[in-house]
Symmetry: D2
Subunit: 160 residues, 4 copies
């Protein structure tokens, strides 16, 4: 897929995959990366016991969490080397119940700024070959320069 | 705690606790109810492997998910009998890293309308006796009258 | 322009234009309708003294207000006869300074529900033949059935 | 009023008042400053023809615009000398119709970061001695260091 963005780090894909692999929460919910392109990230997961709310749909908070990660990595794919990514805020609108065996989230950078990146992300539930658009949202990500993406960063290091 | 709201269902507390107990995702992340009062709900969870992101903080999406549930049940405590609750949208701002062994979320209804409820929710991380305010957000909940809160509600039933 | 939505009111265009003409604030800022299609509305205005902030750009609140009206009328174009429209909430992200002589806002319905409509709107500033994308946002509109769109509706009538 | 914040500019009040006085849009809608304290700003305006929507209430976008300015100046009161303020995003929920002769907005800083400030703002309509809470919102403001708050800043200077 061709995108309008030029990555500042030629190794953007391995950088994103490495960071994703160090997110225990993404492993816990069974999320995997389906696509990484400059400014774009798609994630998905299969349903398992423990991901639903009282009506049997994927929990809205979980759907937002998957969309948040897709948005974050869409942005991170455009960051320069030696930086890390932080969500500063997001807003999500729920469009349809997230009913189905599979949940997908697609993040797409709308504006790549110097410090702040604005990203749109959408989530889709798939069941029996039918896809329903269950969430659309806007996310703001901060590019923290000169900060490690690894553990033990410390509270101060990620001050916004 | 005294609140300004009058519950329309005298059994609001058992109704909320019953609904919460049927949310597999809340059990999966280890969330429990700390407080239910009319228009107020407080939830918390202890850290466990699988709830963090790459820096070792609670994943932002998870923090938002806990706040979303606190907001939803704060609203649900004010609903009439024979109704269910649905998040229609929310917006969260991340204030500080969610670092610590314990995560709390407090939801408080701001406006109880006929169909739409607006709720504020905040999240706090606790570590070594120190509490940090990690998220503030606004949530809109819909009151679906005459709909069961139980499983197998069906996609159409929760149409907004 | 072909859209995916089927209007429920064959007179949707005159209904929208009539409502717009009764909005003193839209006249005050000099806004006009450029396009009405089912689920789509485009508005624009020319700069005049009194619409800018301290740096000389269109005031962000004004840009959001124009986008809000574009979103509202995009939704209203899909409402049945004998109904009115109310913004219940919106979120906007500012992408670039709104610098220029002309401001445009384009609203597009994302989800037409029974009661709630979710709309995306974007704003663009035009100067010397260059267009810059200055705002993107998500808006939730409520369809109030059986309520007049005219003056003196009364506070209770628009209870959400 | 005592607030929890320590201003970094002892002349914060005159700096805010000076910036406010250079906002043509604030003059155009008749807004004035009622209160400036560190981290707090209250604005108000009286109704006049041209500020309402089709039902005769203050236009929601105008209410949001006043809240945005209150939020921005609440933040700006905490900024160091030689800086300017920019709204990066906001989300507002409408609680009640903004009906009445007077509109007030109160902004209060929730988190003062290094670059990003999170602010809550609320708007109230007053009529015949009755006040109704018409809007609550969350705003993110950016502190642009070393940038003039005056005109002709240039598009590049305010890049986020």
């Amino acid at each position: 897929m061709q995108t309008e963005f030029e990555p500042r780090n030629p190794n953007y894909e391995s950088v994103v995959r490495d960071s994703f692999s160090r997110q225990p929460y993404m492993a816990d919910i069974g999320a995997r990366i389906d696509l990484i392109e400059p400014g774009i990230c798609e994630l998905s997961l299969e349903t398992r016991p423990g991901l639903t709310q009282q009506h049997g749909f994927f929990h809205g908070g979980l759907v937002a969490a998957l969309a948040d990660s897709a948005a974050g990595y869409a942005c991170y794919s455009l960051y320069p080397p030696n930086s890390t990514v932080l969500t500063t805020e997001f807003k999500v609108s729920f469009l349809n119940p997230a009913q189905g065996g599979r949940l997908k989230a697609k993040g797409r950078v709308v504006k790549a700024g110097k410090t702040l990146f604005v990203c749109q992300a959408d989530a889709y539930a798939e069941e029996a070959g039918k896809t329903s658009h269950c969430l659309t949202g806007l996310f703001t990500m901060m590019c923290l320069m000169g900060k490690s993406d690894a553990l033990n960063l410390g509270r101060e290091a990620v001050s916004t």
